[in-house]
């Protein structure tokens, strides 16, 4: 539905977008994920017509909209700082776009419906500047939704909110988007948010898309080292494919300090690859026990610290460091402490290979 072809944009000497391509499908929640300065906001601004691209084409439903002025693109925009009109009350804020489009009749019902949709009925006469951050963002949402745009762009809409409000609103927004079936492009730098909200995610880096895919794919099977590091993958090692066992369906990768067994992928011996193992897929034991896991590495605990609901154990394996996430219960049962010798086990299928 929305397609960006080869978009380039520079501000003075800084190249912000370098030949960006995107293809957003109808009705999906498409997340642009990247750190600050990667060009996320510039991309949104170009789609909305607020900034003129230097080169490239923008298509909506197949028609090129490069030359359509912003107020005629019919694309909603929700801002990080809400951008409500401070001189208008909540009702007038939502009504604004109806009036601007000269729909003077039957405003009342449409505004009411939009405010109900975001759970703000009864807020009509309030001053938006006196509302909480979460409520302000709901007003902004209602304001963008009232004209039933074909598509809505959201620029880190939740990043100015408290953790608790953010979590609730994230959930509600996802529901709303699904219910309305609204094509949405959502910009964020927050991986958890991207994971929860996105039907598909594009990871941006340095003005280009690094990788596009489902959250599952981006987070568990990233195809690029940058993406793997960005989403917080911990154990990434350089290695070389040493043996291909076509019959067994596995292959060997040797890194500087250890050997890994992984599921066979089409490749040649001697190829340099990156091998990643997610910390939570590693089993940690104090004495060697037989298991079906094909990988086994001995090491020594460097440190243990809490990592959200889990505990993270840093293990030194001959110079390399491997992070292992285990439950608090397991830490207690195994009586783990700094300096302990441990054995790490993980399945061949747990080793993810990046070419």
């Amino acid at each position: 539905m929305i397609q960006l072809n080869d978009i380039c944009k520079s501000f003075k000497e800084t190249e912000v977008l370098r030949s960006l391509n995107l293809n957003v499908k109808k009705g999906e929640m498409f997340v642009l994920l990247g750190s600050s300065g990667c060009g996320k906001t510039t991309t949104l601004s170009i789609i909305a017509g607020l900034i003129r691209e230097d080169r490239g084409d923008i298509y909506v439903d197949g028609s090129r909209i490069n030359d359509v002025p912003p107020h005629k693109r019919g694309i909603g925009f929700v801002f990080q700082n809400y951008a409500l009109f401070p001189h208008l009350n909540v009702y007038e804020n939502v009504e604004f776009s109806l009036k601007a489009r000269h729909k003077q009749k039957n405003n009342r019902n449409e505004v009411k419906r939009a405010l109900e949709l975001v759970g703000l009925d009864g807020f009509d006469n309030k001053n938006p500047m006196k509302l909480s951050g979460g409520e302000q963002q709901r007003v902004a949402l209602a304001r963008a939704l009232v004209t039933e745009p074909e598509c809505i762009l959201m620029d880190e809409p939740l990043s100015n909110l408290d953790a608790m409000v953010r979590e609730r609103l994230r959930y509600e927004m996802k529901q709303l988007q699904k219910d309305v079936g609204l094509t949405t492009i959502y910009v964020t730098h927050d991986q958890v948010e991207a994971m929860m909200l996105g039907d598909r995610i594009a990871v941006l880096n340095n003005g280009q898309t690094e990788e596009v895919g489902t959250p599952e794919k981006i987070f568990y099977k990233p195809q690029r080292e940058f993406v793997a590091r960005f989403i917080g993958m911990k154990n990434i090692f350089n290695g070389k494919i040493t043996t291909l066992d076509e019959e067994g369906g596995v292959m060997q990768i040797s890194t500087e300090n250890f050997e890994l067994t992984t599921v066979l992928i089409p490749s040649g011996e001697g190829t340099h690859v990156k091998a990643c193992v997610r910390p939570e897929e590693i089993i940690l034991m104090k004495s060697d026990q037989k298991t079906s896991a094909r990988n086994e590495i001995a090491g020594r605990i460097i440190t243990i610290f809490p990592n959200g609901p889990l505990m993270r154990v840093l293990v030194d394996v001959g110079g390399d460091e491997i992070s292992v996430d285990i439950t608090r219960l397991a830490t207690r049962d195994l009586e783990l402490k700094k300096g302990d010798k441990v054995i790490l086990k993980f399945k061949a299928t747990s080793v993810h290979v990046i070419m």
Partner: protein, 267 residues
């Protein structure tokens, strides 16, 4: 988090005493001089002086011209301010400088320029403005309108860009956004500018004196009156007119404080 600026306690240092002393001398100097003016006359004398026909006429001329200047400044100044605030075009810096020039140049020089432009063999000599009220308005407009433009422009510029952008994405044309968002949000800045321009026009002397001369009952404004009466030794009349101007200056200041410092164009 709190907008308040910390005030460190423990200020009884030598440094604190020294700067307080210097500041005291300065404020004493300013206050004493202003006090001298305020105590020069009594209410009775003041009213008698104001009632004289020549002074009344100069007050009326001053009010007429300054109000005309404000209206003209609004008509021309708002579009100029909006253009400078929202557009990036080539030559923008030149126009910007052109607006600053009347503010930074001595009014007398501005007056001389107008005198030459509209005088004997000047570019606009077919307009009959020298030694007329029209001349006063032109002189005051030249000197005072940049203050409105500056103030309105800063007000337009300090509107959160996202709010304007939001209006555009909500389907508003530029004109609709200007009327329904920019103008209401720049209101305080524009009012500040109006008052500043009005005060400036009212107190203008150098340019007016150059262009309008001093013809009692015809081109004698309040400031010209002050000067002429002081020269001719009629200090009481000068003081009366000065007090009126001081009061209007005070009123101006109070409005500024009320509208908030951030929009204060003389800042």
């Amino acid at each position: 988090m709190f907008e308040q600026r910390f005030h460190f306690m423990h200020q009884n240092s030598f440094f604190h005493i020294l700067i307080s002393l210097i500041a005291g001398i300065y404020f004493g100097f300013i206050a004493a001089i202003i006090a001298c003016l305020l105590t020069e006359t009594s209410l009775g004398e003041f009213i008698d002086n104001i009632k004289s026909p020549e002074i009344l006429s100069s007050i009326i001329i001053s009010l007429e011209t300054s109000i005309a200047v404000v209206i003209l400044a609004l008509i021309f100044g708002i579009p100029v301010a909006y253009l400078l605030a929202t557009r990036r075009f080539t030559g923008r810096i030149i126009l910007d400088t052109l607006i600053d020039l009347p503010i930074i140049s001595p009014p007398l020089v501005c007056g001389l320029a107008i005198l030459i432009a509209f005088g004997g063999h000047g570019l606009f000599s077919h307009f009959d403005v020298i030694f007329t009220i029209k001349g006063i308005i032109i002189a005051q407009l030249f000197v005072a309108s940049p203050f409105l433009i500056r103030s309105a422009r800063i007000a337009f510029e300090s509107i959160d860009q996202d709010i304007l952008t939001a209006a555009r994405t909500l389907g508003a044309s530029e004109f609709y956004t200007f009327r329904k968002v920019s103008l209401p949000l720049a209101r305080n800045g524009i009012i500040s500018g109006i008052i500043m321009t009005w005060a400036r026009a009212l107190g203008e002397f150098g340019a007016t004196a150059m262009v309008a001369g001093c013809i009692p009952y015809k081109t004698e404004t309040m400031t010209i009156g002050i000067y002429m009466h002081a020269l001719s030794g009629n200090l009481d009349a000068s003081v009366a007119l000065s007090l009126l101007l001081i009061v209007s200056a005070f009123a101006t200041l109070i409005v500024f404080k009320y509208l908030g410092r951030y929009n204060d164009p003389i800042k």
